[in-house]
């Protein structure tokens, strides 16, 4: 029989694979737990900062602060894409890359020069393969993002915006809705969206002044948007990996069932054949 030994070898191999994917699933689950905690821990600061910026914003300030400038026409845009450093997480990276790709195509179709800033090995590898020029290529973002890492990523792009070298900055990253749902999302990082005329701090003692506070807070605000995106992205990556590895483990189980059945059938067929041969042989002797 062609099958028996080959099937046995394949069963062994699938069992090994299942062992590995199950382990990766467990690792991703525990990493995701910690990453999710970080996502939740980052929210109070983000929402507090947003309240303050919204409260202080007034359209008149835009003329004085480069970071608040609202270009009348967007000539040049920057796209900041956050991907993972590692694969084996289903369509996580390809979804993000597709989202960025669509955005870039759309911007270029509108006649806007678009420059790329990529963090994460997977994104960098893709755009290098495509022969795209990247102004930032970062592959050193860890699973546990720090504020310093976010600053080092954001600072140069923010400076380019302030100097007027780009008129808009888009951030493409994963939104962490739940472990199962981590859709890619595009956000406009700069110019900062303010609620016009929503200034709610008139009754406040402001020290030094609304301008003085904004000058310090706005860079932190932009940086923190990237920091939260990094944290969410890390959690989403682990969530996607867990789902992918769970599917792989389940599939390996199905394949094993199928192979075991094939193996048993082949073994049965061989036994039947041997018996038939013995019976045939002894019948011939009589």
């Amino acid at each position: 029989m062609a099958g028996e030994r080959d099937v046995k070898r394949r069963i062994k191999s699938v069992e090994n694979t299942r062992q590995i994917t199950r382990t990766m699933e467990l690792v991703a689950t525990s990493k995701m737990k910690r990453a999710t905690d970080r996502v939740h821990a980052a929210r109070p600061y983000a929402s507090g900062l947003q309240d303050i910026v919204r409260g202080l914003y007034s359209p008149g300030l835009a003329d004085r602060y480069p970071i608040l400038r609202r270009p009348e026409e967007t000539k040049r845009a920057a796209v900041l894409l956050l991907t993972a450093n590692r694969g084996l997480c289903g369509a996580f990276n390809s979804n993000l890359i597709r989202q960025a790709r669509d955005l870039i195509d759309k911007l270029r179709a509108d006649g806007i020069e678009t420059e790329l800033h990529i963090a994460g090995k997977k994104g960098v590898a893709y755009f290098r393969f495509r022969g795209e020029e990247m102004l930032t290529q970062r592959t050193d973002m860890s699973d546990t993002p720090t504020v310093e890492a976010a600053e080092s990523l954001t600072g140069p792009i923010r400076d380019r915006f302030e100097r007027g070298e780009v008129d808009a900055v888009y951030l493409v990253s994963s939104e962490f809705r739940s472990a199962m749902s981590t859709p890619p999302r595009t956000r406009e990082l700069l110019p900062i969206e303010g609620d016009e005329g929503a200034s709610s701090v008139d009754a406040y003692i402001l020290s030094p002044s609304a301008d003085g506070i904004l000058e310090k807070i706005l860079p932190a605000y932009v940086r923190n948007a990237v920091y939260t995106a990094l944290v969410e992205n890390a959690a989403a990556e682990q969530g996607a990996r867990r789902t992918a590895m769970k599917n792989a483990t389940d599939n390996a189980g199905d394949v094993l069932n199928h192979l075991t059945r094939t193996y048993n059938r082949a073994r049965q067929a061989q036994i039947t054949q041997e018996i038939a041969e013995i019976v045939g042989g002894s019948a011939a002797l009589e």
Partner: protein
């Protein structure tokens, strides 16, 4: 009503302190600023230095904070700081 202050000290990656306080002294950008219950609404930049929070029953907590902004509104005190640890400055 001059109840205790509700204080929240938040850094980018965690809530450093959350609780009631009788008063607190924070390092503002241009010197220390004290906050007691019924303080007027205030928004000020925070410099680097020691934040000390006096608990209602006595005793106090102190933290080292660096940068950020302090907001006081109706006895709710929120300090968003870029960096904080438990070590006194």
């Amino acid at each position: 009503m001059a109840g205790p202050l509700s204080v929240r000290v938040v850094s980018p990656d965690r809530i450093v302190f959350e609780g009631k306080a009788a008063s607190l002294v924070a390092p503002a950008w241009d010197g220390k600023v004290g906050v007691l219950p019924r303080h007027a609404p205030m928004l000020t930049l925070v410099g680097s230095g020691e934040l000390s929070i006096d608990r209602p029953g006595g005793g106090s907590d102190s933290f080292h904070v660096d940068g950020g902004v302090l907001k006081v509104e109706r006895d709710q005190v929120t300090l968003l700081t870029e960096y904080a640890d438990d070590r006194p400055a």
